[in-house]
């Protein structure tokens, strides 16, 4: 149970936690008796300020990942008795929703909660339909079921504006009598934001509570920051991510895909969580069993298993996950609060410096001052131009210089983390800072591997004087071909760093020393954050394995066909691209689910 404070647009429900000297937090149920509840309420403000945290997603997100439970709790309502209330279901039809068996879960919930539904009117809205509401709230529940059966079996693809649908639904619901609840069921489109603040204001004016059933997003999802060219419907933007801003660095040098985009956040997208948080609602997460399956490497390769790995910390610690939950206050307020957080400022400064040094391919998109933070245009980081050249000696030299910078930055960051005050620093920002320090060490390892590859391996491969290797080994490349650049893939760190001690990597003794340091940092980080989204994210990174690239065979440009009446028109609704990395279902947006 969580205790909720009154909430307006800038402050949602507040989780009552008891801060310990160790920095750990015991959630409310562990406190036990009534007097402690009073004491805790009195300490609410103190606790909140001690942690340096405002409202987090943990306060509104319900445990569990099944559709049946979510729908049952929502349909049953918060009261055991039959009270007068109006429930408007706004459903975003999708393939994922059909697979999640939403319809049968809803039918079951209706049958199981007959007693409490006595005075409930239910309406139905479909996202993507004009004016959204297809069945205005009615006491004849059979009509709703019938319409739902007719409409939800059709699978729709594409980006749809769920916030507009919520506003349409809120306009209808505002006139209803009794308790008003809007249930938003969307497994795919929560990341397509359209004026969240306006939607929240309208919901609050209409005294409407929002209950959300959504898929889990990824940790500080950076996908849409990387893919800015995606077509979107008018007046919308693709954001995603569990927090108000992308607060975890992404795009580290020699990481093929950002770990942020493959790490389940434990929470829904910020926009959806915000709707629930600002209206005293709840968020229910859904993840299919397929999504909860563990995979060591989505894009790279795992050297140490055939996907039979049982992660020692696969079961997440919910208290720890809650500790590092993102803020769900309005975006501006969240940024203000983060600006006061010394650890957050430290992360942003280091991130910016690393981007300028070419160690990260993105800048943070946030500018920090002494005690504040403001949004900034997110620029790309410096390109060290290590890969697009066949001049191995020059690349090695540049990589070694970058490795020295990474080491220096890591040491400075570690020193600054030690100097952080115990109070006024959020757990999430502290975790991010430590995560960044380990990533800088990993980047140094990768740079040394790269340098070793350029100095020792590549020249030998292309030297005609090198003899034939003994069988079963064969020449990795045809010596007659001339390389034009270097590329890489990642060898997953899912099993940790230690197994790499046995693996033959370029870089020699220096690399071994740095690998040992990385192992120590990795283990120390996993001991603290291993059973949380940050520990999982670290395992999603990898050691780069480099290979030379060769010029392709050139081909003439494809002739464009002349326009004719037969030419198919493009889709009116922009199509959602299929994402890998946790979203193992259909084109299902950044759903990763399950904490595995």
């Amino acid at each position: 149970m969580h205790l909720y404070a009154n909430c307006d647009d800038s402050s949602g429900p507040v989780v009552v936690c008891w801060p310990l000297a160790t920095g750990a937090v015991i959630p409310w149920p562990a406190m036990g008796s009534t007097w402690t509840a009073l004491a805790a309420t009195a300490c609410l403000g103190v606790a909140s300020s001690l942690q340096g945290q405002g409202t987090t997603a943990a306060g509104v997100t319900e445990p569990g990942r099944t559709m049946t439970r979510a729908v049952d709790l929502i349909v049953g309502g918060r009261s055991q008795k039959a009270i007068e209330r109006t429930l408007l279901l706004v459903v975003d039809p999708s393939e994922a929703l059909v697979k999640a068996e939403f319809l049968s879960a809803f039918q079951k919930a209706m049958a199981d909660n007959q007693a409490s539904l006595g005075k409930t009117r239910i309406g139905l809205g479909i996202v993507g339909v004009k004016n959204t509401v297809v069945v205005p709230p009615t006491s004849d529940h059979a009509v709703v079921l019938q319409q739902m059966q007719a409409r939800l079996t059709r699978q729709q693809a594409g980006l749809r504006n769920v916030y507009q649908a919520v506003r349409d639904g809120a306009a209808v619901l505002a006139q209803a009598a009794g308790e008003r609840t809007l249930v938003l069921v969307t497994l795919e489109n929560g990341d397509l934001e359209d004026n969240v603040a306006k939607t929240v204001a309208q919901l609050q004016r209409g005294k409407i509570r929002v209950e959300v059933v959504a898929s889990e997003t990824t940790l500080a999802d950076s996908y849409w920051r990387r893919n800015r060219n995606q077509q979107v419907p008018n007046k919308t933007k693709l954001v995603g991510g569990d927090g108000a801003i992308v607060d975890v660095p992404w795009g580290l040098l020699f990481q093929r895909e950002p770990a942020n985009e493959m790490t389940p956040a434990g929470y829904a997208m910020w926009g959806l969580t915000r709707l629930a948080a600002a209206t005293d609602g709840r968020v229910f997460l859904y993840a299919s069993k397929q999504q909860q399956r563990h995979v060591c490497a989505f894009y790279g390769t795992c050297l140490f298993c055939d996907n039979d790995h049982e992660l020692p910390d696969s079961g997440w610690n919910s208290a720890l996950v809650d500790q590092v939950a993102p803020l769900v206050s309005a975006r501006r307020d969240a940024l203000k609060e983060m600006g006061r957080d010394a650890a957050f400022r430290l992360v942003m400064k280091t991130w910016l410096a690393a981007a300028k040094a070419g160690l990260i391919s993105s800048e943070p998109g946030v500018r920090v001052a002494a005690t504040s933070a403001s949004r900034d245009r997110a620029r790309a980081g410096r390109d060290l131009r290590l890969l697009a050249t066949g001049n191995f000696a020059r690349s090695a030299k540049r990589a070694e210089a970058a490795a020295r910078k990474a080491a220096k930055m890591r040491d400075q960051l570690l020193e600054a983390i030690d100097a952080l005050p115990q109070d006024g620093v959020s757990h999430r920002a502290r975790a991010t800072a430590k995560y960044l320090a380990v990533l800088l060490q990993l980047t140094q390892v990768n740079l040394l591997t790269f340098s070793g590859f350029c100095r020792d391996y590549a020249p030998e491969w292309f030297d005609v004087r090198t003899g034939e290797p003994l069988p079963p080994e064969v020449e990795p490349f045809d010596r007659d071909r001339r390389p034009m650049g270097i590329h890489y893939y990642n060898l997953s760190l899912c099993h940790g760093v230690r197994p790499f001690y046995d693996v033959e990597l370029p870089g020699g003794e220096q690399l071994r020393q740095e690998l040992m340091k990385l192992d120590a940092m990795f283990n120390s980080f996993q001991r603290r954050y291993g059973k949380s989204q940050f520990g999982y994210a670290l395992r999603r990174n990898g050691i780069a394995r480099f290979y030379p690239t060769f010029p392709g065979i050139s081909k003439g440009p494809v002739r464009r066909r002349p326009k004719s009446s037969v030419t198919k028109k493009g889709p009116i609704t922009p199509k959602r691209p299929t994402r890998r990395g946790g979203s193992s279902g259909p084109a299902g947006g950044p759903t990763t689910g399950g904490g595995r």
Partner: protein
């Protein structure tokens, strides 16, 4: 001149010889000698020449049952447009099974609107052929048209549900479940009638199907399983894996305690793994002390493969068990959890001859450790072929894992686990290992 004549005779005779060979091979598909049959089948599968189609088309009608089925498989290997005429001819065959196969293969070509009437005719032929199939060929025919999704065919399949042949009913219901994407109201109605069948196995099959829809019949089914435990062996691969009532879980767990063979343990564990992992764990733990080694080893392996089947502490203790097989299972489970404590015990176990050695070689390969390479090299010349195969695949995985920057072509070293002479290959591998160690 004489020489030229001889050459021309040879050239003329060559296709005739090839023709005869293919025709013989097709005839051998219907042979009672399994080895001969399989050899012919393999050769025909590898042969993609048009004369194979002609030979099969000419002989298929007169072949035995197995010969007809294998011939249909051979035809499947050819592009549809090359064998379409054969299928069209087969549509008027005297054998219902061949008509079913023919229609099932031709239907994908009748998708256009202009082919609507052709499709309808084909479906009519298919349903009639299914109805005409004799009992011993019903299931083959049903499987042969597995890709056909048509209401008329589904209706015909429902008519084929029999109250006196449990295995036919089970096969048809599995197909219906698959093709209709779960429980269908019409099928459900047809299956409900089977609940009063005299044969308990038929009733069991009907219950198992209905469980995919709702759990209403769970208790009656559980009672049936308790009264007649043998029914479970008939229905276990039709059971839903995620919707099992408590009483049913108990009945299955009870059956697991008295398996007929180690294969039953594996299959029942598959049924219970998702729905009732705790009950499965308890039942498997009961088998750990079983007097039969095979049962005990299978139970241990199943437990070790379950998340949380054994705690780390248990596994560490198992590394010192008297039985080598137990040590190997524990070492394998520990490796999955990133604990490398099992490496030394499994190296020791791999060196000792016994039934466990093949598993030990496999687990050692999974460790992908430098320490394991010399042992795997030794095992390449083990007396047992299973051990050699495990060691060979383990060695390849290990070397690819440990040396990501090197490229291997393992065919080049001249080693094959089943070759008569293996020494040269092993010597080559040892020389390479000595050069990189």
């Amino acid at each position: 001149m004489r020489l030229a004549c001889w050459f021309s005779l040879v050239l003329l005779a060559a296709p005739a010889v090839a023709q005869a060979t293919v025709a013989d091979l097709v005839q051998q598909l219907g042979s009672r000698d399994g080895q001969k049959r399989n050899a012919a089948y393999r050769q025909l599968l590898a042969n993609r020449k048009p004369e194979v189609i002609a030979a099969v088309a000419g002989a298929i009608e007169d072949l035995s049952r197995i010969g007809q089925e294998l011939s249909c498989n051979v035809l499947r290997g050819f592009p549809r447009r090359e064998v379409a005429s054969v299928y069209k001819k087969m549509m008027s065959s005297a054998t219902p099974y061949l008509r079913v196969v023919a229609v099932a293969r031709l239907l994908p070509d009748y998708r256009a609107d202009s082919d609507r009437s052709r499709r309808a005719r084909a479906i009519k032929v298919l349903t009639k052929a299914l109805a005409a199939c004799k009992q011993d060929r019903v299931l083959s025919a049903v499987y042969a048209c597995a890709s056909v999704r048509d209401d008329a065919v589904f209706a015909q399949l429902r008519l084929m549900l029999r109250s006196d042949a449990a295995h036919v009913t089970k096969g048809v219901l599995r197909q219906l479940l698959n093709r209709e994407g779960g429980v269908n109201a019409d099928t459900q109605a047809a299956v409900t009638k089977l609940l009063t069948a005299k044969q308990s196995q038929v009733r069991g099959v009907a219950y198992a199907y209905l469980l995919h829809g709702d759990a209403d019949h769970s208790e009656a089914f559980a009672k049936l399983l308790t009264d007649e435990p043998g029914v479970l062996w008939m229905v276990m691969d039709l059971l839903p894996k995620d919707k099992l009532h408590d009483a049913l879980q108990d009945a299955i767990a009870a059956a697991l305690a008295k398996p007929r063979s180690e294969h039953d343990i594996r299959r029942l564990a598959g049924v219970l793994r998702t729905a009732a992992p705790q009950k499965l764990k308890l039942a498997l733990r009961g088998l750990v002390g079983h007097e039969k080694d095979a049962f005990r080893d299978e139970a241990l392996a199943q437990l070790a493969n379950m998340p949380g089947g054994f705690g780390e502490k248990d596994l560490m203790e198992m590394l010192h068990d008297k039985a080598m097989a137990v040590r190997v299972v524990a070492a394998g489970a520990l490796r999955k959890q990133d604990n490398r404590a099992g490496l030394k015990p499994v190296i020791e176990a791999a060196k000792v001859r016994g039934k466990h050695q093949a598993d030990a070689a496999r687990v050692l390969g999974d460790y992908r450790s430098k320490q394991g390479v010399p042992v795997l090299l030794d095992l390449l010349d083990a007396a047992d072929a299973r051990v050699r195969n495990s060691a060979w695949s383990g060695l390849q995985e290990t070397l690819r894992g440990l040396y990501p920057y090197r490229k291997f072509d393992f065919n080049k070293c001249g080693y094959a686990p089943n070759a008569a002479s293996r020494q040269n290959g092993i010597a080559t591998l040892r020389a390479w290992w000595a050069s990189v160690e």
